[in-house]
């Protein structure tokens, strides 16, 4: 129903602290855009700026072709789901959902119809007479969602909506949010620090760091071609192995000695070599690629897969093996990774193709 365009958006607090340092994002109609990054990267600030809860220091935010810099939160036609749900504790579930409609002077039967419909969608019909404190975390989360969908807004904003739930519920709600967003076809911006949530929910993934956008793209594209060492280490669990020169420290150029440990050639300018744990295989390899010996130091069985932590020469490595691992700490295994699966980064941490 709407597009969202951010152009050169910056946020400066108190004249000196720069929380958002110039962000350009273009979100397509009906898309789910996920902003992901570590805490303090400016993703929540950016979301609050889209909501109109924070002023915009520089740049413009455009919702559905209209610049909203000077428009109040109520007139932006957005709905927000807060991390702590922000349900009105003194109102029943019904009134929590109807509040925004009443404030807009909607007719009673129309409000009733909309609230009932939303309650049905979210399986809240039996809870409409309860107060928020009588609900479980998951139910509160649904009410917060209900409050957003009854308004039928142009854009949904989610501020880490699942971080107060336990792991099992989080997985379940994640799927529900995704389905709901798909069926309602409402453009959404979703903020999270959880890379799993980010990967599974996003149509468009925005990785942020230190107030800047590191990379924008489809989740799997970002996973397969991270634009920087930051993205490489942030997306994926366990994170990508980053091997640098100078005894494993990233930043220093990879030397002949380092590379002879790894048995691989790299494009010029490369200081860091990246390999995903699942791209490393055991055995001997005839083709071109990384070929080395792993000395296993620790084994982490997770069930469906196991992770081997160990050393190849001076470099630390994590290797994923499917199922149970037969390797014991102290074992030395031949490992390899095809060259096509390797990632190369320069001294600034930027991706180098090659």
């Amino acid at each position: 129903m709407a597009t969202v365009e951010l152009k050169g958006v910056r946020k400066v607090y108190g004249g000196s602290v720069e929380a958002v340092k110039g962000v350009d994002i273009s979100i397509a109609d009906k898309a789910m855009c996920v902003l992901v990054g570590p805490s303090g990267c400016g993703k929540s600030t950016l979301l609050r700026m889209i909501a109109g809860l924070e002023s915009i220091t520089h740049g413009t935010i455009d919702i559905d072709g209209r610049v909203v810099n000077e428009v109040g939160p109520a007139e932006r036609d957005i709905a927000m789901v807060f991390q702590n749900y922000a349900l009105y504790p003194h109102m029943k579930v019904y009134d929590n959902m109807a509040y925004g409609l009443r404030n807009r002077g909607m007719k009673k039967d129309e409000i009733d119809a909309r609230v009932k419909r939303a309650a049905e969608t979210l399986e809240l019909s039996a809870l409409l007479d309860r107060r928020p404190r009588e609900l479980s975390g998951g139910q509160r989360q649904r009410v917060a969602m209900g409050r957003a969908i009854v308004r039928n807004p142009k854009v949904f904003l989610f501020d880490e909506p699942l971080s107060n739930l336990d792991a099992k519920l989080r997985g379940q709600m994640r799927v529900e949010i995704k389905n709901l967003q798909r069926s309602l076809e409402v453009t959404s911006v979703y903020v999270t620090h959880d890379q799993l949530e980010a990967m599974t929910l996003a149509d468009q993934l925005v990785v942020m760091n230190g107030g800047l956008v590191e990379q924008v793209g489809k989740p799997l594209d970002i996973y397969e071609k991270p634009a920087s060492t930051f993205v490489a280490s942030f997306i994926g669990a366990p994170p990508m192995n980053l091997l640098g020169g100078n005894g494993g420290k990233t930043g220093a150029p990879l030397t002949v000695a380092d590379l002879s440990d790894l048995g691989v050639s790299v494009p010029p300018g490369t200081t860091t070599l990246g390999i995903r744990p699942e791209d490393i295989e055991q055995g001997d390899y005839a083709g071109e690629g990384l070929k080395t010996q792993l000395t296993v130091e620790a084994v982490e069985p997770v069930g469906a897969e196991s992770f081997l932590h160990g050393k190849a020469g001076t470099h630390r490595l994590v290797v994923r093996v499917p199922g149970r691992s037969i390797a014991e700490p102290g074992a030395v295994l031949p490992i390899f990774a095809p060259r096509a699966k390797l990632h190369f980064f320069d001294a600034n941490g930027k991706r180098v193709e090659g």
Binding site: A51, G52, L53, A74, A79, A86, H90, Y99
Partner: protein, 294 residues
């Protein structure tokens, strides 16, 4: 029910509450029982002898037009003082909540009047509004208002109400500020996104969520207006002009310690006690039902 922690020692709990009990016994139950006893006696004019008269003192007090006047004065005074003190304090607290720079300084200044003793507060207001030398009295007169609280009953009432409320505003302010801080900021933001303007947000979100604080302050302010304002009334009007500001507690003092009608004075304080107990009970029984505790 979570399992309760129990201590085997039977004696220790009583020892721990003993100091509190002792204070309540000595300063409340003993004087209260003395008042009840005294209210059934009548002293002779020289205070040499007293006779048991049963409920006769109560009968006399309740049929005394001056006493009925005093009840009316008290109702007007207490309601006006409590409402004024709470409304102004809430307004200031809501405004102070918006202050960003110098918040602490601003709040500290707001709290200072509470440190002023009632009698001093009364004197302050008396001087400011004294018809012959008060600065504000002069300004009022230049504005064309005939200001004379020494002769004009309603004006005297207004003066004591404002003085009494002024002193209590600081206290209320402090609680309202704390109450406001306990309201999550995201609730207000959610309401803003839900299309509620500032006034609407106040009445539909902030005011209901402040209800526990407001209720607590209602009980405290009523008790304050009934009892603790004695010093202010004594300093400003002395109950005058012509009993226009003689509240129940002031009349107890006046009849008992000035006019030395001890029996009737004691009867009055017993009635006063019953009124306050009843009022507090009503507040807890009915008003508290409407209060939502988060």
């Amino acid at each position: 029910m979570s399992p309760r922690v129990t201590f085997p020692n039977k004696f220790l709990p009583y020892l721990l509450v003993a100091p509190q009990l002792a204070i309540t016994l000595v300063f409340f139950y003993w004087p209260a029982s003395q008042a009840i006893y005294q209210s059934t006696l009548r002293e002779d004019p020289f205070g040499l002898d007293s006779a048991f008269v049963g409920l006769d003192n109560f009968r006399r007090v309740l049929s005394d037009p001056n006493y009925l006047n005093s009840i009316q004065v008290t109702v007007i005074f207490s309601v006006a003082t409590a409402v004024l003190a709470m409304a102004v304090a809430m307004f200031l607290a809501v405004m102070a909540d918006k202050v960003i720079r110098g918040k602490g300084f601003y709040r500290t200044l707001m709290i200072w009047p509470y440190a002023v003793a009632p009698a001093i507060a009364g004197m302050l207001w008396l001087f400011m509004f004294n018809p012959s030398m008060g600065t504000f009295a002069y300004m009022l007169r230049s504005a064309g208002i005939y200001w004379d609280p020494l002769l004009n009953g309603p004006q005297a009432m207004l003066l004591v109400i404002v003085a009494a409320a002024w002193k209590q505003i600081s206290y209320n302010f402090l609680f309202f500020v704390a109450g406001l801080q306990a309201i999550p900021k995201t609730l207000v933001e959610a309401a803003a996104i839900d299309g509620a303007g500032e006034t609407k947000r106040f009445w539909t979100i902030i005011f209901p969520l402040l209800a526990p604080t407001t209720f607590f302050l209602l009980v405290i302010n009523t008790t304050y207006a009934f009892f603790d304002t004695f010093g202010i009334i004594h300093a400003v009007t002395g109950g005058g002009p012509g009993k226009a500001t003689e509240t129940l507690v002031y009349k107890v003092y006046n009849d008992g310690f000035v006019n030395l009608i001890l029996g009737e004075s004691a009867a009055q304080s017993v009635i006063l006690m019953v009124i306050v107990i009843a009022l507090t009970a009503v507040q807890f029984r009915y008003v508290e039902k409407k209060v939502h505790y988060g």
